[in-house]
């Protein structure tokens, strides 16, 4: 992959990212700002070191539960203050990811100070009350009960549990009914002191009143946590030979299929190539399963970037009678990626779609903030995405076939079918009913 041509290629305009800046305030708070004046809104994000990877073994869902309580418990100061956002027309969006928790606030630019003042309140409030912990825990357990009836949610959850059997990555970010039931007030109290006192970053994009905003942040007395993201990568998950698993949900109208494997981490040299392969595979499957045969209205392929491992997942919703042939078609298209070079025109089209998708993500404030956040928490330079786009442009058919052969292995795939009972013979001979699987004896280890 030569980069000789890259030096002469004009760099793409990347909207708000082109004028972005990063600062460290006197007391250590790190701030990233990007301007976009299309509409009079400001989008702010506080980034906290409270991702699901920090959930203690057996208490999965603790960080997500604590974030929800810290930002919105009605008897908490921040919760009462957040209720004051509603008259401002502001949206408060707490989100727990694997590595970090993010609290996003989007509001009219003229009300920018409310987002800063609320952040200060958030990080200095006392832990939530025992009653609030119990109420939120029970609410989340009830939500799990409703999700148990959702075929797509069940398919996603079972796929993760099987693909990451000895890792907490195999559990949903919001835990399970069992793990939530074990969470007590003391767990939330300890976590709040450890992870909800110090933001890692503050991100602001949109109509940013730069000087006033920095001034207000500088007057804020929060302690600031410095946590390097350059930590050693955990051991990747075990490469268990794949099997086909089936979960019967007789009342469902359609079957959900999930097929895929645990793949390389986001910083791996092959990641950009795998992303392009995922896109090619998605386009091919959509052409075959949707446009040509009318089998599936929704088919997509995702490579979800992860710090230790990125799940590569093929998802399709089909009628029960067409599950077997769909599994065969997916297997065939995966094999084609490994065996046949991608035709030039198809490759060029995939690269263009990839680039347009990236640029589109910069046209909305949440997307722009998400890109800025990724640069910040991964300690990438501000021109990182220019290099990434160039890397994708330079990939050729031979590179992609090599990457597919090295990193996509059907024998490592997990196949899950959730929906009406259906016989998978003759397509699959070894089918494991999920009802018979003992998932209670998993041993825990760190996030992959």
């Amino acid at each position: 992959m030569s980069c000789a041509a890259a030096a002469h290629r004009p760099r793409l305009r990347l909207g708000g990212l082109d004028g972005a800046e990063r600062l460290c305030l006197g007391r250590g708070l790190r701030v990233a700002l990007a301007e976009d004046r299309t509409v009079p809104l400001l989008h702010c994000q506080w980034i906290l070191p409270a991702g699901a990877r920090h959930d203690p073994a057996g208490l999965e869902g603790l960080n997500a539960l604590a974030l929800s309580l810290f930002t919105g418990a009605p008897d908490g100061r921040a919760g009462r203050m957040a209720a004051g956002f509603e008259p401002l027309g502001a949206d408060l969006l707490p989100h727990t990811g694997w590595d970090h928790a993010t609290v996003a606030v989007e509001l009219a630019a003229r009300d920018w100070h409310a987002a800063i003042d609320w952040g200060e309140c958030l990080f200095s409030q006392p832990p939530p009350s025992p009653a609030a912990v119990v109420a939120e825990r029970d609410r989340r357990i009830a939500r799990h009960g409703l999700a148990a009836r959702n075929v797509a949610v069940q398919a996603d959850r079972w796929w993760h549990r099987l693909a990451y059997p000895r890792s907490r990555f195999g559990h949903p970010v919001d835990g399970t009914e069992d793990s939530l039931a074990k969470i007590e007030h003391r767990h939330v109290e300890a976590l709040s002191e450890d992870r909800f006192r110090s933001p890692l970053w503050f991100i602001a994009v949109g109509c940013v009143p730069r000087e006033q905003l920095l001034s207000r942040l500088a007057g804020n007395v929060l302690p600031v946590r410095r946590e390097s993201s350059a930590r050693p990568l955990p051991e990747p998950p075990a490469e268990t030979p794949g099997s086909t698993y089936q979960l019967a949900m007789p009342a469902s109208a359609q079957a959900e299929i999930r097929v895929g494997q645990a793949s390389v981490c986001r910083n791996h040299a092959a990641f950009a190539g795998l992303q392009l392969l995922a896109q090619l595979l998605g386009a091919r499957l959509s052409g075959v399963l949707r446009d040509r045969s009318g089998t599936s209205y929704r088919t997509h392929v995702r490579l979800v970037p992860g710090t230790g491992s990125s799940p590569l997942i093929i998802a399709a919703t089909v009628e029960a009678s067409r599950v077997g042939e769909t599994l065969e078609r997916i297997a065939h298209e995966v094999e084609r990626l490994r065996e046949e070079p991608v035709p030039e025109a198809e490759l060029a089209a995939a690269k263009q779609v990839s680039e347009i998708d990236f640029l589109r993500s910069l046209q909305g404030l949440p997307g722009l903030a998400a890109r800025l956040k990724r640069l910040a928490v991964n300690e990438h330079p501000l021109d990182h995405y220019q290099d990434h786009l160039e890397e994708v442009r330079m990939l050729n058919a031979s590179d992609l076939r090599t990457i597919a052969r090295q990193h996509i292995h059907r024998e490592r795939f997990f196949e899950i079918v959730v929906g009406p009972p259906v016989s998978l013979s003759p397509w699959r001979t070894a089918v494991v009913p999920l009802e018979d699987l003992d998932t209670g004896s998993q041993t825990e280890r760190d996030h992959p």
């Binding site: 004028g19 990063r22 305030l25 401002l88 040509r292 347009i356 046209q363 501000l382």
Partner: protein, 424 residues
């Protein structure tokens, strides 16, 4: 302030908090094609949104789903392209490199000139539409409710009676000739509004449109109007509750409102927000906070040319009493009608309506769709939209008048969806 750069500093700097939108240009070609353009130079892309006056209101009797099927037949795909069918219109949106505008326009021209389909293609799309219906309507909890509400609000024979997705019977009856006829009659320049937003110059867009579309013949056309607010247009007398495979009860209150973009529609939107959007809404305070009988309230407006469907949905708790849920929901609606919204509360919902509007207009694709809809329904595309000034001008008196005229019992329908026994 004590700030110091640690990584890189901005070459551009960041100033005060004012938005900076480019002006919107709109014009009409000699053949009746209407065009809208707004420059947006943030990234080297362009969003092209085509809105044809072809929707489920044009489905012939017994052929429900024809406009939707035609949309599928006309859709040429692409990685960043989408298509949708609404009651009044069918839209095709694509985002592409700014330099590829002419390719998108050529595809649009092909949509207006190629009207022959094959039986094989028709069958594949018919099958896909049936799968789509099973996945998005029949296979989803509460998935059929939207259709049911429309059937109740708009009686048989009304253009909005059936939903765009189509019925299984209607889809089965469609013949190749039906699709080709709708394609020839509906996909024409005088029935198209083309909205272009991106990193381009106005003059270049005008030139490209003239070059690609000017030779297509047009003829005078006007969408026939119907009086939506005619009180002689009764609601259907369907039973107030139904059983379904759902985990908890849900109550809907829905009504026929004013058409999209009209001042009264903006007033109706403020009323809907006061009733059902956010924790301080009438329904949330009464049913969630005070009585504990509901777990969530939501509100939607389905914007259409001559009427908007306003819907409030209240989710009960699992195993809860749906009768109480219905009674209390209607009590909150009565309060909305009889007690004018205080000025302070109106200011709050106005603020939320404005931030939601701005949020929906951030992306060029969303803005292109919004501007095309304004142009198609009202004949003028403005940004920020007329809707924004409506929100700012409406006072408590005017909103209270709209509440009295719109929300009375004879204009609304109530639907309670109960879990089937043993399926909760």
């Amino acid at each position: 302030m004590n700030a110091m750069p640690i990584v890189e500093a901005s070459p551009m700097g960041i100033g005060a908090a004012a938005a900076r939108a480019e002006p919107v240009e709109s014009w009409e070609l000699a053949n009746g094609l209407q065009a809208v353009f707004q420059a947006d130079d943030r990234v080297p892309l362009v969003a092209v949104h085509a809105a044809y006056h072809v929707g489920s209101r044009h489905d012939p009797p017994g052929r429900s789903g024809l406009a939707h099927l035609c949309e599928h037949l006309k859709f040429t795909g692409g990685g960043c392209a989408t298509a949708r069918t609404f009651p009044d219109r069918t839209t095709f949106t694509e985002t592409l490199a700014a330099g590829d505008l002419r390719r998108a326009l050529a595809a649009e021209r092909a949509r207006m000139t190629e009207h022959r389909f094959t039986e094989d293609r028709l069958e594949a799309e018919r099958r896909l539409l049936m799968v789509e219906r099973r996945q998005t309507v029949e296979g989803r909890p509460f998935g059929r409710d939207f259709e049911e509400i429309h059937r109740r609000l708009y009686p048989p024979g009304h253009p909005y009676h059936l939903a765009p997705v189509g019925t299984l019977d209607g889809l089965r009856c469609i013949r190749l000739g039906d699709a080709e006829e709708l394609s020839r009659d509906g996909y024409r320049p005088e029935r198209l509004v083309l909205s272009v937003i991106g990193n381009l110059l106005h003059a270049a867009v005008v030139e490209a449109l003239e070059e690609i579309f000017a030779d297509l013949p047009g003829k005078p056309w006007r969408e026939p109007s119907f009086s939506e607010l005619d009180p002689s247009n009764p609601l259907s007398g369907a039973p107030p509750s139904v059983l379904s495979r759902v985990p908890f009860p849900r109550v809907y209150v829905a009504l026929r409102g004013p058409g999209f973009g009209q001042r009264d529609c903006s007033a109706a939107s403020l009323l809907l927000r006061s009733l059902a959007v956010g924790r301080s809404s009438l329904l949330a305070r009464r049913l969630i906070d005070r009585l504990g009988v509901a777990r969530q309230v939501q509100a939607h407006i389905v914007p259409m040319r001559e009427a908007s469907t306003l819907v409030v949905a209240v989710d009960g708790i699992v195993g809860g009493d749906s009768g109480l849920l219905t009674t209390e929901t209607l009590a909150a609606v009565e309060e909305l009608i009889t007690v004018p919204i205080p000025e302070e509360r109106l200011a709050n919902v106005r603020h939320k309506a404005l931030t939601d509007l701005w949020s929906s207009l951030q992306r060029p694709a969303g803005r292109a769709a919004h501007l095309a809809t304004l142009q198609a329904f009202l004949g003028r595309a403005t940004f920020p939209a007329d809707v924004e000034s409506h929100y700012e001008e409406l006072d408590t008196g005017e909103v209270a008048e709209v509440a009295l005229s719109l929300w009375k019992a004879e204009r609304r329908t109530v639907l309670t969806v109960n879990p089937e026994r043993g399926r909760q």
